[in-house]
Symmetry: C2
Subunit: 330 residues, 2 copies
DNA sequence: CGCGTTTACGTCGTTCGTAACGATA
DNA sequence: TATCGTTACGAACGACGTAAACGCG
C-alpha cells in the first residue's frame, strides 16, 4: 500500500469510476492507475470496484470503507505538506474558493484585495456555484473553502465559520404600484406581485417559501437567477419585485430602483465559510478568513479550526453594522 | 512523501531518536531509515529533529506536528489492512493485549480460551505491566488493547469500554488479631496493621490512600506487588493484611486465609478495555471484547467503537453478579 | 575503542510512459 | 467506430542492503 495507490483510488472514485478521466486529474497515465489499482486490490485481497466486463460498475461495500479511510490519509498527507509550507513561511500557493455569485461579487472583493496585497504570490481561484455544487466541490477536495449562506444551521460534517449576518431587501422600479404602499410592506402585499429572486427560492424548503407558507400564501416567482446583477436587470425590465441580499445593493441602484427593507418579513441569513475537518489551511488562507471575519482574532483561528478542541466561534457582526444600511425605511 | 517515510519517522520518534534501534523495530537497515528521513526532510523543507553533530537531539516543534499527523496516517493505513483482513474473513492474526497481572491471571483466561476456541489461528500476546506502561504501549501502538482498572473515569484520549465493576477484599491469616473483630472492619482498625497491596497503592492519589486520608489516617503499607499471588504469599508469611481484588480469590485460599468484604470502605473499581481511537479492530478482537463484556452486543460493538458516532456503552455488570461472591460477611 | 550516523556503491525491484491490443456500446 | 480498460515492454528511477568512513563520548 502506497500513498500513490490511495490517491489514485480516490481519484478513480471521484471521477465516477472513469479511470481515464481520473488519470488526467492526477496528471498520470491511465495504464498507471489501472495497474496501481490492481496492485492495491491484490495486496488487500479484495475488489474496490465491481466490474462488468472490463469497466468499473460500482463501488463495493468494502471499497467504500477503504476509500473513506484513504481520503483521511491523503487529507492528512496534504495537511503535512501545508504545515511544512507554513513553517517555511512560504507565501506562494493556491487558494481555491467556491462561493455563490453574491458573495463573490459584493462581499469578497475587499478581502481578496487585502490578501493579494499581503500575499502577492498566491493564486486565487474563485469558483461560482449553487450550494449543492459548493458542497460537492468541498467534499471532493477540489477547493480549500466554500463560502455560502443560509438561515438555519450550516451543513454538518464541515467546520463552519460564521462570517456575518445579513438581511434581504426588496427592489422595484420607481413606477411599481408597491412604491405607493409606504415603508411597511407586508408579505401578503408581496404575494400580489410576481417576484424575482435567487435560484434557491425555488426549493420548497427555502426560507422565502416557508415565510409565505406560514401565512398560507405562496409567492409567485416570475424568474430566478444565481446572479444578483441579473435579478436587477429583470427587475428593471419590469418582470417583478426583486428580493435579494442587502450586500448586492450598489449606490447607483438607488437612481432608478426603489428599495425597501423587510427585516421582519424574512429570517436573517448568515454567511459561513466552510472548511473540511482535519484539513490544515495555509497561512494565507487563515489570513483571508480573518480578513473576511474581523470578529475572529487571527491568532485564535488555528485553534478554532481544530476539530479536536472545538473552541466556539464568536458571534458574527451584522453586515449593516460594518457597511451601513441600504434601507431608506429603517 | 511516502507511507514508508512516515512509518520510519514515527519509528525513530518512538525509539527515542535512536535510528539504529528504530531500524530494528521496523525490520530495515539503519542507513535506509537515515536516508528516508533525509528525503522527507528535504521534501518538506524542514528538520524533524534538531541535530547535535551527527546524532539526533530533540524533536523540533514542526517535527512534532508532522509526527502527530504521520501517526494518524499509519493508523488509518493499518485500519485499511485490518478492514481488508476482516472482509476476507481471515481468522489468522495477532492479538496483543497489555494488562495488569490480576486481569491476566484471574479474569482473562476464560475469555482467551473462548477466543482460542473460536479463532484457533490467532496468536495472543499478553503483556503485563503497570498502568503507565500499558498506556505507553497503547500510545506507541505496540498493542491492540490495554485492560486496566480504576475508581475514577478512564484515561482520556482512548476509547474505554467498561467491562465490569469489582470491589476489593481484605485477606489475612487465620491467626490475625483482626479476625476477632467480626464482620464489619473499619478503616481505622485497618490502619493499626501493616498492609500488603498492589503497587498502585503507593501513589499518593490512589483510592486506598485517599480513603484513609478522608478520615485523617495514613495506611502503613508493609509491601506492595503487582502480582496478586505475591500478595497472598506475603500475607501468608505474616507481613500484613492483604487488600486485593475480589477476582483474585481462589477457592483454596479460604483454607488458610480469612476473607472480609469491605465494600463500603473503598470505592468500587471498574475494569476498562482501552482501545486507540480511529483504530479498526480485527474481527477476533471484537469477539474477544464481547466475550469479556457480555453486556455489549457483538453486532453493536463496531458502531460503539467508532469515535464519530459515540454510542454509549451499556453499564457494566458487577463481578459478583456473574461469578458469585467471595465474601463470607455479605 | 565502541556506538551511532553518514557516505558510497551496486543491485534489485518498481514505477512510469509509450504503444499495441481487446472489449464494449 | 469511438471510447475505455488491459497487456506488453523498455527505460529510468528509487529503495535497499553491504561495506567502509567519520565523529563523538
Amino acid at each position: 500500500m502506497t500513498l500513490t495507490q490511495l490517491r489514485y483510488l480516490v481519484a478513480i472514485a471521484d471521477a465516477g469510476l472513469n479511470i481515464t478521466q481520473a488519470a488526467e486529474r492526477v496528471f498520470a497515465t491511465q495504464p498507471g492507475l489501472s495497474k496501481q489499482l490492481r496492485h492495491l486490490e491484490d495486496e488487500l485481497g479484495l475488489q474496490m470496484f465491481s466490474r462488468s466486463g472490463r469497466s468499473l460498475e460500482a463501488v463495493t461495500p468494502a471499497g467504500a470503507l477503504v476509500i473513506e479511510r484513504a481520503r483521511k490519509i491523503i487529507d492528512e498527507a496534504e495537511s503535512i505538506r501545508a504545515l511544512a509550507a507554513n513553517m517555511r513561511h512560504e507565501s506562494t500557493g493556491e487558494l481555491r474558493i467556491a462561493t455563490t455569485h453574491t458573495q463573490a461579487r459584493f462581499v469578497l472583493p475587499p478581502a481578496i484585495a487585502k490578501l493579494k496585497h499581503e500575499f502577492p504570490d498566491v493564486n486565487i481561484h474563485l469558483m461560482p456555484g449553487g450550494d449543492a455544487e459548493l458542497l460537492e466541490l468541498l467534499h471532493r477536495d477540489e477547493i480549500d473553502m466554500a463560502i455560502m449562506s443560509g438561515t438555519s444551521s450550516p451543513p454538518s460534517g464541515y467546520i463552519a465559520v460564521p462570517v456575518f449576518d445579513w438581511e434581504r431587501v426588496i427592489m422595484m422600479p420607481n413606477t411599481h404600484p408597491l412604491t405607493d404602499v409606504g415603508d411597511d410592506i407586508t408579505l401578503s402585499q408581496l404575494a400580489d406581485y410576481p417576484l424575482v429572486s435567487y435560484e434557491s427560492a425555488t426549493s420548497p424548503d427555502s426560507s422565502l417559501r416557508k415565510a409565505f407558507a406560514a401565512i398560507e400564501l405562496a409567492p409567485r416567482i416570475a424568474c430566478t437567477a444565481r446572479d444578483a446583477d441579473l435579478i436587477k436587470t429583470y427587475v428593471r425590465a419590469g418582470l417583478g419585485v426583486g428580493i435579494l441580499a442587502e450586500m448586492a445593493i450598489l449606490p447607483e441602484d438607488r437612481a432608478d430602483l426603489e428599495l425597501r427593507c423587510i427585516d421582519n418579513l424574512l429570517p436573517t441569513c448568515t454567511t459561513w465559510i466552510l472548511v473540511r475537518q482535519d484539513r490544515l489551511l495555509r497561512e494565507y488562507a487563515l489570513a483571508f478568513i480573518s480578513g473576511l471575519a474581523p470578529q475572529i482574532e487571527r491568532k485564535k483561528l488555528p485553534r478554532m479550526l481544530n476539530p479536536d478542541e472545538p473552541d466556539q466561534f464568536p458571534a458574527p457582526f451584522h453586515w449593516r453594522d460594518l457597511h451601513g444600511s441600504n434601507c431608506p425605511n429603517s
